[in-house]
């Protein structure tokens, strides 16, 4: 029986959804972070990180092929017992909530810093949460369409980033491997920041309309993310000097301050406002999938009540506490640590376990 048939998503929607979660808020700081670790060779680390990510995401797909009609939790429940499935669901829900919350907080802080310095953080948070609820309550198909829409209307952005290129110093990029391979490899874990989020495939997989194409879809999606990051990183590297780029918190935004049109001042402000649409892909799908996990846990079909509760908690908590920039940085660091665990290590272990189990038929529970 197709349990999730009423909410199928196309490959296209899946690609944009996955890539949207990956790009997210961390996009703005990435070139600076890479430059800190590896100088202008940071872009090589991005490609290495991409290769590892592709491997990890293909493993995820392989795992899901063992039980194509259910989510990860159905699969774990089948192989390891009901309780293991529940534990996995709890962990996943916590991870996704944390992912969404970090993204939201970062977006709020950015909006406050660049757009609305005098408006309170809780107001900004509420303004972001209202559309979040409107979209997330509708289920996956609407989410997929939303991701598609956001991607389509953002296609013009790369062209604007070509403007600063007239002041570019391409000489910054050579020589390649200035300090050898070591700094490049040390920057690879940082790049995972730009790729985490693909583990949502564990939940998205059963909804896929065309499961044969899942591998190529995730490959396209990872590549899309990589190209986006590579593009923006290279532009920042050739525009800023290697030392200077580390002075900015969000070089991707600062670079826009150099653009000057006679008819509009302060381009970057318009951009931050527009970027919020792209950033929203970091928390809307993850919030949705988080409540999906908790609903699964309690065996309910309708996720909306959980969503409402979560929404209220988030909205109310911002009145009492909103992290500072430094706390947010630490939250990000923590996110990437558990992200590596959940998205890179866990699928590999799971695949090996499943393979061993199938091979020797240890557990003949079925």
């Amino acid at each position: 029986m197709k349990k999730y048939a009423y909410n199928e998503i196309t490959s296209m929607q899946y690609i944009f959804l996955n890539s949207g979660i990956q790009v997210s808020v961390f996009f703005l700081a990435m070139p600076g972070k890479l430059a800190e670790k590896a100088g202008t060779d940071g872009w090589i680390a991005l490609i290495i990180g991409w290769a590892i990510t592709v491997a990890a995401s293909l493993i995820v797909i392989q795992v899901m092929k063992k039980h194509p009609e259910g989510t990860l939790f159905d699969l774990i429940a089948r192989y390891l017992g009901k309780w293991a499935g529940r534990v996995a669901a709890i962990f996943f829900a916590l991870y996704l909530f944390y992912y969404a919350y970090t993204g939201l907080v970062e977006a709020v802080l950015l909006t406050k810093a660049w757009l609305l310095p005098q408006t309170s953080a809780s107001t900004v948070m509420l303004l972001l949460l209202i559309p979040t609820y409107v979209i997330a309550r509708n289920g996956l198909r609407v989410l997929g369409r939303y991701a598609e829409l956001v991607y389509m209307i953002s296609l013009w952005i790369p062209f604007v980033y070509l403007f600063p290129l007239k002041d570019a110093h391409w000489l910054n990029m050579v020589p390649l491997l200035k300090e050898g391979w070591k700094p490049v490899f040390s920057a690879v874990p940082t790049t995972f920041f730009s790729y985490i989020g693909f583990a949502t495939t564990f939940i998205l997989y059963p909804f896929l309309k065309n499961k044969q194409k899942a591998s190529s879809a995730i490959l396209i999606s990872d590549t899309l993310t990589m190209l986006g990051y590579l593009f923006i990183t290279v532009i920042c590297f050739v525009y800023y000097s290697p030392d200077e780029i580390q002075k900015y918190n969000e070089p991707v935004v600062n670079i826009l301050e150099a653009i000057e049109f006679n008819f509009v001042e302060r381009m970057e402000v318009l951009f931050i406002a527009f970027f919020l649409l792209i950033f929203s892909l970091a928390w809307i799908p993850t919030i949705y999938m988080g409540v999906f996990c908790t609903s699964w846990l309690l065996g309910k079909q309708d996720h909306r009540n959980h969503l409402r509760i979560l929404w209220l908690i988030t909205a109310l908590s911002t009145f009492f506490f909103i992290p500072t920039f430094n706390q947010n940085d630490r939250m990000n660091d923590f996110l990437i640590q558990i992200g590596i665990g959940i998205e890179y290590v866990f699928p590999g272990c799971l695949l090996v376990y499943l393979w061993v189990q199938d091979r020797f038929q240890w557990g003949k529970r079925l």
Binding site: A113, W114, Q118, K247, N254, E260
Partner: protein, 373 residues
């Protein structure tokens, strides 16, 4: 019924939220400074000037100049507020004017921190050096010219298009100061007989301190070396051996150079950086003040021009090397091609470049002689 209630709550929330958006500023409550100037008085205390437009029918003068003595750039805002009817705004600054006394200090650039830290401020004001105390130019207000910020902005804009000065914005200056392999270069303005004139560029050292000035022709040459010329450039050079008759400089020839190709080769030999620059220019004659048969003796004129242009380049490089600065950005080439050697000297690149061997070879081709022989 239930749904209605929900909608009512939703609408009420939205109204409350929108009303509490506190980031708005009414036009009449704002004073927009278009120009900000830094100067030091005789006791070396910071003076900050600003020029803002006045929008009022009954006021005869179109601009308002303010002079305050703050301790920091941001603090000046409060002080200026006390003189104006609106709140001082930095978001439309077009020009940042620096007096020579400021430029003689190290680390004056730190004053600009607020513009980088507070994202409400633009990073596009043009940086202009003024040779003298700012009070001379700020209060000049000539009746036959647009207001000073607009005048300066347009001057930089158009002269930059002809490569006669540079357009260095705040962001550009930040980049030039932070980059180790290059030193900053900004536009220069002087007062000549009470007339405001752009005279070329001011060269700064690594710390932003005044190093030297270049006139317009030298600026053009510098920009050729930077591979940063826009459109075609004009050069006027003397040809030795030609007679000067009367009060007129009849030994001069004016060129219009386009298709300028610069090749820079970098190497490291005998503990010294070596730069070989090959400049190929296709020039058109635009003025010839002495009789010369260009058609038959074109080759000869070409050689003479080449020799002169080459000499000009060599003088410029000598000047730069004596000042221990690198406005050309040769450090970028050194970094790209001799990374390990550059890394050792990057913190005192200016001095290193002063000892480097820089060779220039010029090749000019007369591509057009104009419409007369």
């Amino acid at each position: 019924m239930n749904k209605r209630l929900l909608h009512a709550i939703l609408i009420a929330t939205v109204i409350v939220i929108i009303a509490s958006c506190s980031d708005r500023l009414d036009m009449e409550d704002a004073t927009h400074a278009l120009l900000v100037g830094f100067d030091l008085d005789k006791e070396n205390e910071l003076i900050l000037y600003s020029t803002s437009p006045v929008f009022s029918k009954n006021v005869e003068k179109k601009t308002r100049e303010l002079r305050v003595k703050p301790q920091t750039n941001r603090q000046s805002r409060g002080k200026q507020d006390s003189y104006t009817e609106g709140v001082f705004q930095g978001r439309s600054i077009q020009v940042l004017l620096l007096s020579k006394r400021i430029l003689q200090q190290e680390n004056w650039f730190q004053l600009t921190d607020v513009w980088f830290r507070d994202p409400k401020n633009p990073l596009t004001p043009r940086i202009i050096a003024f040779d003298g105390p700012l009070s001379e130019i700020i209060y000049l207000n000539p009746k036959d010219q647009p207001m000073l910020p607009i005048l300066l902005r347009e001057m930089v804009e158009t002269k930059n298009a002809r490569s006669e000065t540079v357009k260095t914005t705040l962001q550009g200056l930040h980049q030039q100061i932070r980059e180790k392999g290059v030193t900053p270069i900004i536009s220069e303005v002087r007062l000549k007989d009470k007339q405001i004139a752009i005279t070329g560029t001011t060269l700064l050292d690594h710390k932003g301190k005044y190093a030297d000035s270049l006139n317009m022709q030298e600026t053009i040459l510098l920009r050729i070396l930077q591979k940063n010329t826009k459109k075609s450039v004009n050069l006027t050079i003397p040809i030795p051996g030609e007679m000067k008759i009367g009060p007129f400089h009849t030994d001069k020839v004016s060129l219009n150079a386009d298709e300028i190709k610069v090749k820079i080769k970098t190497s490291f030999l005998k503990d010294k950086f070596q730069f070989h620059m090959h400049i190929t220019m296709r020039v058109g004659l635009s003025e010839l003040l002495f009789p010369f048969d260009v058609r038959s003796q074109g080759k000869e004129l070409e050689n003479k021009i080449t020799e002169q242009v080459q000499m000009n380049f060599e003088n410029l490089i000598k000047k730069i090397q004596t000042d221990k600065i690198d406005p050309i950005g040769l450090g970028l080439y050194a970094q790209a091609h001799e990374y390990s050697h550059f890394k050792k000297v990057e913190d005192h690149w200016g001095e290193t470049l002063a000892n480097a061997d820089i060779h220039v070879s010029v090749k000019t081709i007369i591509g057009a002689m104009g419409t007369v022989k």
